[in-house]
Amino acid sequence: MSLIVSYEVTENVLIVRLVGELDHHEAEQLREEWAHKIYATGIKHIIVNLQDLTFMDSSGLGVLIGRYKEVLQLGGEMLVCHVNPFIERLFELSGLFKIVRLAENEKQALHTLGVAS
């Protein structure tokens, strides 16, 4: 019923894995923690793994867009992977794919970013 987040840094990429439900209640905490990780680790790109995200609404979109803007400032980009069909519909609807690229999995996403894993 709630959200569990784990972070991993590979070279200049922050991999964020979201497990559970991402709504407004969870978004508030995630936002702070995630923004802190970006600056504390000195990364440039972000890969978001949504494999075990069972729910997401527009508050979740807001957090993704907020972090996208941060890496954009750092000259980096954001990729999402393991997007289930329902979340893919949300992303389509909201135009998120205009700014965030889709990858199948973390490995492919790292490859796209030019990082060998």
Binding site: M1, H25, L61, G62, L93, S94
Partner: protein
Amino acid sequence: MTNEMFLQFSSISDNEAFARVAVSAFITPLDPTIDELNEIKTVVSEVVTNSIIHGYNNEPDHFITVQCLINNQSEIELTITDEGVGIENIEQAKEPLYTSKPELERSGMGFTIISSFMDDVEIISEPTKGTTVRMIKQLAKHKTVSKS
């Protein structure tokens, strides 16, 4: 036969998940598809979150009501109400990407998602009085016109 439920709860963000689960559990006997269930959960989450953040400015001591009617075992009528600040300009509020609270990282996509997931959406709001969002969704297998 009509089945009906009425739910009222404190305006705290803990209750967003609660409202989703309660509505899901109420409509479960209709055997909705996974997509339909996700759509309903999402709109409940959007509207309840809006009441908490926008309607009540994150003040925890107010109440939100959710009413759900099941008509003819197939039509879901959802009405969510707050007695908060209300909406000045409903047309503007409905525009994709419009948000009055960008500082909270709102995406402004709530009403766009709601319109896309429900068959009919009505927003009734009056400044200082509050907001009611009334939505109707026909479950697919009972639709007279097939979607395919």
